[in-house]
Subunit: 352 residues, 2 copies
DNA sequence: GTCGGCGCTGTAAACGATTACAAGAACGAT
DNA sequence: ATCGTTCTTGTAATCGTTTACAGCGCCGAC
C-alpha cells in the first residue's frame, strides 16, 4: 500500500538489497541482474527515498540561495542564473528571503549546520562581524555574492561598483550632462557603501561636484519615489529650464549645486521610482533630465522610457557564484577565490 | 572534529540519547535533565541533523513551489505570499522553475515521490491527462494554483478570469472605449484558454465585437512587443486619429473591425510590451489607446504610465494555496476544496 | 588438478535521529 | 510495610538507503 522500499524491490526481484542499490547507482552488475531489478522497479513503481539517501551519503543535493528581497528584479536575474547552473549539476535550489536585517542572515547561515542543503550562495545586504564569523564557521560551503573582506576566507563574487559608476558618469559627460544628482540606497548596506564610494570617486575623477545626494530608505520602488520627492523639491531642474524653474525653484537651490540635468540611481528600482516623480512634475526623460540606473535588470528594458543602466553582471555573478559553490563542494581544500565581474553600460532611451 | 551528534551530546551530558532527544523536542523532563542537556548542547555547539530527522519522522519540513517562469512578476508576488505562510509554519520553500513544457511539470510531480519535500504548490501553465494523473497519484499532497478539472480530486485555488475580463471591458465601456483589441498568450495554456473564454463572454455580454485578437507566443515582455507589432500594423488606431490613420492605415483595417482605441492584454508583461510598441508609433496611452493588463503585479505600478490592471488576486491565491497545502498535510482525508479568488480592478493612468 | 585472481553478489553495519517499551524511582494510600 | 500508580529515564529498534567486507563462482595459468 505505502511506498515500496528498496527491500520490497529486492524481494520482488529475488535479489539482495545491495544489488538493487548497485543497479540503481550504475555500479557493475550482470545483464540479467540489471534486467530483473529494472523489471521489479518498474512493476512496483519504486522511487528511491531522498531522505534516506541524504542521511547515508551526507548530501541533500540541494543548494540554498539567500537574497534580501525577491521583489528586486536583480535577484530574479541572479536566481535564474544560479538555478540554471545548479540544476544542470543535479541540484535543487532552495530560495530563501532573508529580509533587510543582518541578524536574520546570521541565523540563516548558522541554520545551514542542520545540513538541509549542501551549500549556500548568499548575497548579504548588510555585513557585520557576526555574519563573517558565522560564514567562516559554517559547516557547509558558502559563497558570498557581494563584498566581504578577504579575511573572511570565503569564495566571493562581486561587482565592480566604482567602475560602473565611472561608466555612468562618463556617459553623462559625453552626452553633455554635468549637473548630476545621486540617489543611493541605505549607506549602511554593502551595495550602498560601494555605490557611495564609487560615485564619489567617479565624480572626483571627472572633476565634478554632485548637485545633490539623497539616501533612500531601501532599494525598492517606493523608496525611489520618496527619494525622488526629496530630490526634486526645491531644486532647479532641467536642461530646458521648463520644469521647477518655471514654477519658481527655491533660491537656495542654486547654492546647493545649481541646476539638475541628470540623476544616477543606485539600482533600477530606485531609478524607476525617480522617473515617476520626474513625470509627475512634467519633466521629460531624457530631454529635461537624464536618468541612469544600475543592475540592468529586466525592469530597465520594460520601463518607459527604457532605462540606461549599468550592467553589474548579475547574471554572470550568479553563474560564477554557483560554479564556485559546486567546485568547493567537490574540493574544500582549495584556497578561496575572489572573483570580480566587470560592468558594462547598457545605453537606452533615458539618456540623450 | 566533525559535527557532534546526539550521541556525543548524550555522552557529554552523561545521559541517554533518548533524554537528549526529548529535551530537544520539549518533552517532559526534570529541570536538572534539561539543564545538563542544554549545557552540553551549548558546549559542543550541537545542531540536530535535518537529514536524519527527516528520515525518521518522514518529513523534510520543506515545501515546493513550482512555477513556469520566475521572470514573470506575477509569480514573484505569488512566491512572496507562499513564502510568508509556509515559513511562518516552520517550512522552507523550494522554488522550482518548470519552464513551458508540460512534460517537465509531469516529471516534477513524479519526482515528488522521492520525498524531498512534504508538499507541492504547482501553478501549471499547460495541463494534460498525464499531469492530472501524476497529480492524483502523487505521494505527497499537491495544491494546484490554477484551473484543473474537479475530477482530478485535488485542492485548487484559481482566479476568476472571466469576471476579471468583465471588469476590464466594463471599465473601458464606462470610459467610452468600445473598439477593443485583445492580446492573449498562447491559448493552449491554462491561463490562455481562461482569458480567451473570458474575453469572448465579456464582449458578448457587452454587445461588442473585438477589433482584433492576437495570440502572443508566450506570456513575456518580448512576446508582448511582437504581438504589439502584429496588432498595430495596418490597423486604424486611436481616439484622435492621430496615429496610423495619419500615416495611412491599410484599407483592410476597417473591414477587420474598425478603429482601435483600447487594448486588453492577458497579463502585465504583455501589456507593457504593447505599450512600448504604441509609444514607438507615437501613440499616447491613454489618450489615443487605453491599455489594461492583468495580474496587477508590481510591474503595473512601476511601468509608465502606470497600468490599469485586473487584480486576479495572485497574492491571495498564493496565500490560500499555501494554507490549503498546510491543512492537507495535517489531514489528508478531507475532501478536496476548490477555492476561487475574485478579481478587482486596479485603475491607474493607462485608461482615461 | 590446484591455485590465485577477479568479478559479482549477499550479509550486515552504518548514517543520526525518534520513539515504543521496559525498568526504575518516587510517592501516596492502604 | 506493602502495593500500585505515576513520572522519568534508558535500551534498543527503527526509518530506507549505501557500502565495507566476505563469500563464492569462474576463469586462466602453472
Amino acid at each position: 500500500m505505502s511506498r515500496p522500499t528498496i527491500a520490497g524491490v529486492a524481494r520482488a526481484a529475488g535479489v539482495s538489497v545491495a544489488s538493487v542499490s548497485r543497479v540503481l547507482n550504475g555500479l557493475p552488475a550482470t545483464g540479467e541482474m540489471v534486467e530483473r531489478v529494472q523489471r521489479a522497479v518498474e512493476e512496483l513503481g519504486y522511487v528511491p527515498d531522498a531522505r534516506a539517501r541524504s542521511l547515508k551519503v551526507g548530501r541533500t543535493f540541494q543548494l540554498t540561495l539567500a537574497v534580501a528581497d525577491v521583489g528586486n528584479p536583480v535577484y530574479v536575474t541572479m536566481m535564474r542564473a544560479v538555478e540554471e547552473v545548479v540544476s544542470a549539476a543535479g541540484y535543487r535550489l532552495v530560495v530563501t528571503t532573508t529580509g533587510p536585517d543582518v541578524v536574520d542572515e546570521v541565523a540563516l547561515v548558522r541554520g545551514m549546520a542542520r545540513g538541509y542543503a549542501d551549500g549556500l550562495v548568499i548575497s548579504p545586504l548588510r555585513v557585520d562581524d557576526d555574519l563573517i564569523k558565522s560564514i567562516r564557521e559554517c559547516d557547509v560551503p558558502v559563497v558570498v555574492a557581494g563584498n566581504v573582506p578577504a579575511s573572511a576566507g570565503v569564495d566571493t563574487v562581486r561587482a565592480n561598483s566604482p567602475k560602473g559608476m565611472l561608466l555612468a558618469v562618463e556617459h553623462l559627460l559625453a552626452t553633455g550632462r554635468k549637473r548630476i544628482a545621486f540617489v543611493n540606497g541605505p549607506v549602511d548596506t554593502v551595495p550602498g557603501t560601494a555605490r557611495a564610494k564609487g560615485f564619489a570617486d567617479a565624480m572626483k575623477a571627472s572633476g565634478l561636484r554632485a548637485v545633490a545626494e539623497v539616501e533612500a530608505v531601501d532599494f525598492t520602488f517606493a523608496a525611489g519615489r520618496e527619494a525622488g520627492v526629496e530630490l526634486l523639491s526645491g531644486l532647479d531642474i532641467g536642461v530646458r529650464g521648463s520644469g521647477a524653474e518655471a514654477r519658481g525653484g527655491r533660491p537656495g537651490a542654486e547654492a546647493r549645486g545649481g541646476r539638475l540635468d541628470a540623476v544616477i540611481a543606485a539600482n533600477d528600482l530606485l531609478a524607476v521610482g525617480i522617473m515617476h516623480e520626474l513625470a509627475a512634475r512634467e519633466l521629460v526623460v531624457p530631454d529635461d533630465v537624464a536618468v541612469i540606473g544600475m543592475d540592468d535588470s529586466e525592469l530597465a528594458e520594460q520601463c518607459f522610457p527604457p532605462l540606461t543602466s549599468v550592467n553589474l553582471g548579475s547574471a554572470e555573478r550568479g553563474r560564477r557564484a554557483a560554479e564556485l559553490l559546486l567546485a568547493r563542494i567537490d574540493d574544500d581544500t582549495r584556497a578561496p577565490r575572489r572573483i570580480v565581474v566587470q560592468p558594462t553600460l547598457s545605453v537606452r532611451k533615458s539618456t540623450p
